[in-house]
Structures are given as structure tokens and as C-alpha cells.
Assembly symmetry: C3
Homo-oligomer: 277 residues x 3
């Protein structure tokens, strides 16, 4: 199904109460009042490009071809950093040249086509050096939605910044990774390959975070008891640590950046032990 | 008026900053890019089914016939709990079988028709056991919006969970109830029948909460002075306790679950008293 | 471009989790299911009319002609305060008569036409005295979007409340102003005329806030170092104080209402000085 009215998604760190999101929506709809605006989030932690990278990687790919994405997390607003228009797999993305989009692009086997926005005739007349979201991104997205091509908005970009999320390492038979993202429930999403590590047939694991060993591996939260600390495969395929109906972040005092270690538990076969009570 | 483009409302506990809401919207629009997505709330307190029940009861009924509602507050995600499609008074509701919808349904004199989602061909191909919102609810809602019938999505449900909000009791001439909901203003919405208790002709009431007696009964906030503790009929018809331009929750140290007692003040007729200053 | 489907924006202080916004959207779409609802903010600080005034001033003007704006920040709900329909430069605004819209209107050279909503036939049948947003504003906006004229909704208003944001004063060669708004980043937006004060050719300024002198004047955040306290022209043209990739609000312990003084630094020309290290 292809809509006659284009979809434009918005992702910013402007927060829920400032007038900035509203101003952007107005500027956008002033150029194309038919555009359908979809809020992804306006509560990205301020200027957090790693967070943005994680966010985009795990959301944009679910949208249909033809979607236009506007991403304004932009510590470099008003400096000489470029504004890019990226075309990839039928999506168009307007984004500051700060690399927050490259992890998303790396999911694809296609090569992105990238332009720099340089054609000021598509912008608002007086561009504030501190609000390109309203004065450049919004009208540019609206013009794209009306059928202008990226090539009309600027010139091909020869290079751009990349931002890689930290990757885990495999050292002498154990994995070392870290927490990439903490969600509203206090679940800790790591960069460790959950699908590979937790699949059937793999020996039991010794998962350590913040000095605590996570012993229980489950498929979903409801398989364990309320309050239990568990490991599972997250909805993005990575290793996730959670507390059933509670917050692993609070329980462990952990969050984005906390190291996580995974060892194969080669001594996990039952043996005779003496335990003192 | 019947729109050619169907309305799909979203209610979740995913929070404002995670990529989960964005992923759901993408999955939905990938199936029907014409759907009109309306956010109800994504800040339901995590996994709080009673809150969800209150929320749905006081919002869904205002929507027009033909609306599709998606509710993902789902502590049991990935377990054997069913996902239901409920049809009632021209609304269709997709919801985990956890009872959060039954108070809404109880407002109607009609009998809901209920199905279990079982037909996997309408789902995303790889269903994550921890993200049915993206992989089942979103595409199922989009298919409903394209004209598929609930019967095509699954099979009739023989039974389902119910969740009743706590009801007040009438004991020896006094009511005992509790706070059901605390809003952004700190207003305390109780489960006591405000319209019946506060109507004209009823004798004065003695309303007690958190050790404090609420003496002032008004029709609206502005009838009392700033800072005054008042009782009134809430917008949902229940007894509400509030502080004018302040927070009753903070003033009283009260919140959801705090008991509230109402007695008829039979000694309220003026009589001769001696007061010491 | 003029859309066939009217745009209705919503601005409230109802917060992200209460069912009030949802109920309003339902009541609106029940009257006109074709309306396109655009959220501006539902996180206006509760009952804060000055905040609302600032918010509307810096957002509504970016919307296209034909937009209908619904603003429900309404400490006087249910009292005798009127509900106004304001028509100005092709925008229609529904708003309580509390003045929060007059700073926006003052941006225009046109004279607003103002009506009082009095025609109850356009309202929901049972109007709650504490929820006019759902029972009056929402259906009235939807009827406007279906082509009813303001004159059909009520009668011309002879007068209305005005709310002026505090203006700076020029005393004996120095400006005294204050912070009007603190955004999500901790940036402090003042009421001082940034464009005039910071333009080229003006002598260096001595900007003082919370006992601290701001020495660095820049065009945009990225021109200074991380952590530096800077002054610049905000996106609304006023003097803004910020900390690069940090929070000026936190650093200075400042916020809305904090006084700001600006003097021309007439002794700023370099002179011979002895400095002790």
C-alpha cells in the first residue's frame, strides 16, 4: 500500500514541554499541509548521539518505503557541520552530519546515497543559527514530501562522519560487552549477541554484571518469578538483563556503559559438593 | 462522518524515549500506510493493569465507531496468555488477555464479541517473545484497518480474564472507598459515587482522607480560594479531592490506594457553641 | 497547499499519562473523524499561563493559514470565565479567556476577531464543570474544522483578558530583564532583545545573572568549548544564556524569573594592567 500523503517521522531531543517541536511541526506543515507527521520521540537524552544511534537502528527499519525521517539531535547546530539527506532502501533521512544514522545504514546491504543540504531556497528565509530544525530540516522535509528530489536540495556528499556503537570483544573464550540502552522498565540491553549466545545447544553461561552473576536464562519475562534477575534475548536480538516486574537498572545500580562479561560455564555439570548452611 | 482512513489509537507503557513506540508505528504503517495513528499515552506506569483499566474506562468511550484501539501493557508478553480482539459498540480493541479492558466494556449494555489472535500469517515473520506490540499487535491492527475481520485473525475466545477496579462499600451509613487515580495536577480521583453523594439536597458530608477532614464541597476548582482543600465531582462522575492551584497528593501525602471515608454529617445543623480563642 | 483535511493542534497541561488528552481526542474525532490532530505539547507546567503565553508566542505563528488551535490551560475551568474563539491571520484559536494568547496576537499587525462560545448545541450534552477541554473545546474545534464559522459558535466578545510577559527596562544605560523560559537543555531564554544587543558594531557587553558575569558572546553553541558559559541570540531573537553541552540552569542555579542585567562595557578597551598570578 502506498499512501498519497507522505509520512514524515520526527525524532528530536527537544523535550515534551518546549515550543520547539511545535514550531518545527508548524514550519513543516506550512510547506506541505498534507504531510502526515508521526512522532517517534522528542525525549532523546539531550545531545546524546550514541542513544540516538541505538534508537534509529532499532526503529527506522520497520517503516515502509517512501518514509521521510527527520532527526534533530544536533550538538553542532550552527557550526560548519553539514546537514545530510540520506537515501537508503526507499527511505529518506534528514540528519546532521554527526554519524547518528550510520549504524542504521549498516543494517542494509545497499549503499546509501548522501547529499549535503546547500540550496537555501528551500529553507526558511531567516535561518537561526541555533534552530536548524525549524528553519532548515522542517521545510526541507516538507519539500521532499512534495516530490522534490534530494539532488534538488543540495549536492552529493563526498564523505560523512560515522558513529559506531561499542562492539563486544571475545577474549580467551569469554565475551566482554556493555549495556547500550536502559529502557523505561529498567531492562538493560547489551551489545552482546543474544541470539547466538542463548540459543539451544549452547553450554550454560556465566553472565556477570556489576559484580552479580545472572543465573537464570529465559525466553520471556513471564517464565520467571516476580523479582527474579534474568537474562534473555531482547527484541533487537541482543542479550538483555532484566528483573521480572522490576528494574534491573535499579537492582544492579547499572546503566548504559556498565560492562557485562559472559563466560561458558564449563564446570556447570553437577558434581559432588559439600555445602555449609 | 465516517473517514475513509481508519483511526488506530495506541496506548502503551513503553515510555517517551525508548525506540519501542517508534518500531510499533513503523510495523503498523508498513502494513497500512494510510492508517491514521493517534497516540493516547505511552506513559502508562510500567505494567500497571489497574491504571490501564482506569485509563481505558475514561477515554475509549469518547472515540467514534470504527476506531481500532491497540493497548500494549503486557506483563505476560511471550507467555501463554492470549492476545484478544474485542469488538464492542463498533470499536475494535487489540489487548493482551489480562483484563485491563473489562471495566471499559462494563460501561456498555452490549455484549462484547471476543476472539483470540491465532492466525500467524497476519503477524511479522519472526515474532520476538518480548515484543508482541511490534510483531503481533501492530500488524494485526493494520490488517483490521484494511478491512480484515476479527474472525480472520483468530478464533472465538471462550473465556477471558476480568479485572475489576476496587469498589466502595457502604457500611452502617458510611462509605468506604479509595483513591483510584492521581492526575498531573495532584488531584485525587476516588471510586466513590460523586454525582450521587454531592448532589443538591443531600445532607452535608464528612469526607476523611489521610487523617484530614475535607469540609469544602464545590462544583469547580475556581469556586474556592487558592490553596484550599476541596471535594467535587470529577469529570468521570466520581468524588474527587483537590487543592486549588496546588496538589492534594502532596498536601495529604496521599495517592492511588489511599482510603477515603464519607459520612453524613447529621450534626451539621448550627447549634449554640462556646468557642475559646 | 491547502489540505482537504483540516489541522487541529492541541496544547494542554494534562500531562503524558492521564486519560484526559485521550478523552479530548476521542470527543474531537467523534464530531469530525477526518480531522488531523497535531500534538503541540501536553506537558505545559500545570496552570502556568505565563509559560503558555511564551509557548504559544513561539510556536503558533509557524503554522499555515487555516489551522485550528485548541489551548486548554485553564485554572478557571467551570467558573464564569468565558471561552474564546479568536480569529487572526487565517488561524482560529479556542482558548479560555485568561490572556495566554494575547502575546501571540501582538506579533501581528492585524486585529483579532474574538467571539465567546455560548451556543451549547455544539457542545457535548453533559458538560462537566471540570473538563471543558473534552466537553466544549474538543467538539467546538471539530465543528469549526467541518466548516462552521466562529459566529455560529457564539457571540462577539466585547473585551477579554490580556496577559503580558514581563518586559525589560532600560535604566541609566543598562538593561534589566529576566529569564522567561528554561528549556530541556537548561538554556535560559530571557526577555532581553538579543538581536539588538548582540549585533555587530555594538560595544562589548557586561551580562550578569545570578552573581555571575557572562563574558563569552557567540553565534551558536558549537563556537565555544564544552562547559563554557555563553550568551547568544536565541531562536526567538532574545538574549539566551547557555552552557555548551551542559545546563546553564543547573550551573547558575537560575530559572524562569531570575533577573538578568546587561551593561555596555565601556572600559573594555585593552589597557595596561598588572596581573598577579
Amino acid at each position: 500500500v502506498q499512501s498519497s500523503e507522505p509520512i514524515i517521522t520526527l525524532t528530536t531531543d527537544f523535550g515534551p514541554s518546549a515550543p520547539y517541536v511545535a514550531a518545527m511541526k508548524g514550519a513543516l506543515l506550512s510547506v506541505n499541509s498534507e504531510a502526515r507527521v508521526i512522532d517517534l520521540s522528542h525525549s532523546i537524552p539531550p545531545q546524546d548521539l550514541r542513544y540516538t544511534s541505538f534508537f534509529l537502528k532499532h526503529s527506522l527499519r520497520f517503516f515502509p518505503e517512501g518514509t521521510i525521517h527527520v532527526v534533530v539531535v544536533d550538538p553542532g547546530v550552527g557550526t560548519s557541520r553539514a546537514i545530510l539527506c540520506v537515501e537508503l532502501e526507499g527511505h529518506k533521512l534528514l540528519v546532521p552530519d554527526n554519524g547518528c544514522w550510520t549504524e542504521w545504514a549498516a543494517l542494509s546491504r545497499s549503499v546509501p546515497r548522501v547529499w549535503q543540504l546547500t540550496e537555501k531556497r528551500w529553507w526558511r528565509p531567516d535561518v537561526s543559527p541555533v534552530f536548524h530544525g525549524r528553519d532548515i530540516f522542517a521545510p526541507a522535509a516538507a519539500h521532499l514530501s512534495r516530490g522534490e528530489s534530494p539532488a534538488q536540495l543540495g549536492k552529493p556528499a563526498a564523505s560523512w562522519h560515522r558513529l559506531a556503537l561499542p562492539t563486544p570483544t571475545l577474549n580467551q573464550g569469554h565475551w566482554e560487552g556493555e549495556v547500550l540502552f536502559t529502557d523505561e522498565f529498567g531492562n538493560l540491553l547489551t551489545n552482546l549477541p543474544g541470539t547466538a549466545l542463548l540459543q539451544q545447544g549452547v553450554p550454560p553461561l556465566n553472565i556477570t554484571i556489576a559484580g552479580v552473576t545472572v543465573n537464570r536464562v529465559v525466553r520471556t519475562y513471564g517464565e520467571a518469578e516476580t523479582g527474579e534477575l534474568i537474562a534473555l534475548v531482547s527484541s533487537s536480538g541482543n542479550l538483555e538483563l532484566a528483573v521480572v516486574q522490576g528494574s534491573a537498572a535499579v537492582r544492579l545500580g547499572a546503566g548504559t556503559g556498565t560492562p557485562v562479561t559472559v563466560r561458558w560455564n564449563i564446570e556447570s555439570t553437577p558434581k559432588e559438593v559439600t555445602t555449609a548452611k
